[in-house]
């Protein structure tokens, strides 16, 4: 494939994310039951199933339209905190994506815009034990890879590795946002469910967009 993400590649990414969320639904819920309210897996799965249904019912015609549709569907189906947060992430990405193929640099800018949207909506800072702790490192790794002129596939792999490291880094953190924050010290020692699902989002890009050797 060309070193860029076209509409069909982005669709594969969304479908792969939906598949991963469905696959890992119980794990996400289990993590959430330790420090939240035990609904993250169910809510994300309900939302991403609705996203896939909507893709089939009304196929979008360009990347921006695809990302907007995903964002709007999540906002109107999920509720809780993850609906507005993931919804905002995709809606902000749509604002950068445009109607053509995304190269590594555009992808990095789009994901960064998504992260900025999440931060603006949820007011979380790095280290608060949230999805920002996975997405932030993923964006930083992408920017670095782009600056070095890495291929798209390489950039995506590095960002996925950084997200996973960020996710693991949430274990010792003290939660300062969301329901987990009520636990105070008792939130320490648990992996954040939001950082876990955000890592799946970045992982899905590697699988769907960067076939071996990409």
């Amino acid at each position: 494939m060309a070193d860029g993400l076209d509409l069909s590649a982005l669709e594969s990414w969304i479908r792969e994310f939906a598949r991963l969320v469905a696959d890992r639904r119980d794990e996400l819920t289990e993590l959430d039951s330790a420090i939240g309210d035990a609904d993250h897996g169910a809510n994300m799965d309900r939302g991403m199933s609705a996203v896939v249904t909507a893709l089939e019912a009304t196929p979008p015609t360009d990347p921006a339209a695809l990302l907007k549709q995903v964002g709007m569907t999540l906002v109107s189906k999920v509720g809780g905190a993850s609906g507005p947060l993931y919804g905002t992430l995709f809606l902000r990405m749509a604002g950068v994506a445009g109607d053509g193929t995304l190269d590594a640099e555009t992808w990095a800018r789009a994901l960064r815009a998504g992260l900025d949207g999440v931060v603006a909506r949820g007011k979380a800072e790095p280290g608060d034990k949230t999805m920002v702790d996975a997405l932030g490192p993923a964006c930083d790794a992408l920017d670095a890879a782009v600056a070095e002129g890495a291929s798209l596939g390489e950039a995506l792999r590095r960002s996925a590795a950084a997200a996973a490291q960020g996710r693991d880094g949430t274990v010792p953190m003290l939660a300062r946002k969301g329901r987990a924050s009520y636990l105070g010290e008792r939130s320490v020692g648990h992996q954040d469910p939001g950082a876990t699902s955000a890592t799946l989002l970045v992982d899905a890009a590697v699988t769907a967009l960067a076939p071996a050797g990409g």
């Binding site: 035990a38 609904d39 906002v75 509720g79 809780g80 905190a81 507005p84 969301g178 008792r186």
Partner: protein, 333 residues
Amino acid sequence: MKKLINDPSHVVADALRGMALAHPELRVDHDKRIVVRSDAPVQGKVGLVSGGGSGHEPMHAGFVGLGMLDAACPGEVFTSPVPDQIVAATQAVDGGAGVLHIVKNYTGDVMNFEMAAELVAAESGTEVVPVVIDDDVAVQDSLYTAGRRGVGVTVLAEKIAGAAAEQGRPLAEVADVARRVDTNGRSMGMALTSCTVPAAGHPTFELPEGEMEIGIGIHGEPGRRRVPVAPAREVAEMLVEPILADLDFASGEGVIAFVNGMGGTPLIELYVMYAEVAAILEKSGVPIARNLVGSYITSLEMAGCSVTLLKADDELLRLWDAPVRTPALRWGV
């Protein structure tokens, strides 16, 4: 799990069907999932919209009607409503004087109401003012948390702001009344048992026989500490003392004292608790001007209670006394 339900995933929809049949004076839109006062929009009146996860009944749909809410948006059990619901409710109650959103301080609720307000602003000229309720003294340090949770004061704010709106006051004044209730109200809750979310099928947390959780939230969020079960007199002290320590209630013109059941506690126990709360307040020099005893903001079948005190003044008491006609609160009409 033993529950009177058909299917865990249909609980909210099925309950709304029953509510619509039991209360023909309300308009229930099952597609948009909103409950609206039947004469809405009332021209020239500020509209009051609230909402949140289901499982806290009668809050919020049970407070829709004359002198209280114009519309409620029930989400899934313990999950905030989505922006579409809030937008639909806001449009349904917009009588030209603007709409007040009463939002409990939970991350999801705040974000969904915020997105709804942005959508309303983009689509129409309706003025929306949000007031966030955060009265739970069990959450101590708001610098390092999502902040205090919205609990019992929500009921009082909806009643009192609803009365102000019914008098035809402008949006800024109605919002100011709601904020004053939040600023002058504090709550603290406790649980004797956990609750079971229908979709989860098992208790939200483990609470051994012989222990209780002091400072519990209305979704089973943990409180300040877990202690052995004690007589009502001591439980009342554990709830009232942190409230009195947080705000000077003795300097006002009395309080509205609200003893609330969490869903699984019988009224006889709530009266036992009210007697103890009243005794502590008398000893502390805090006169009770009005009271409310019953289960109004619940947590499914959780056994336990919460105490809410609102430092009142003449105006807030007049608004409290004003007529209200809703499924759950009804007087003066």
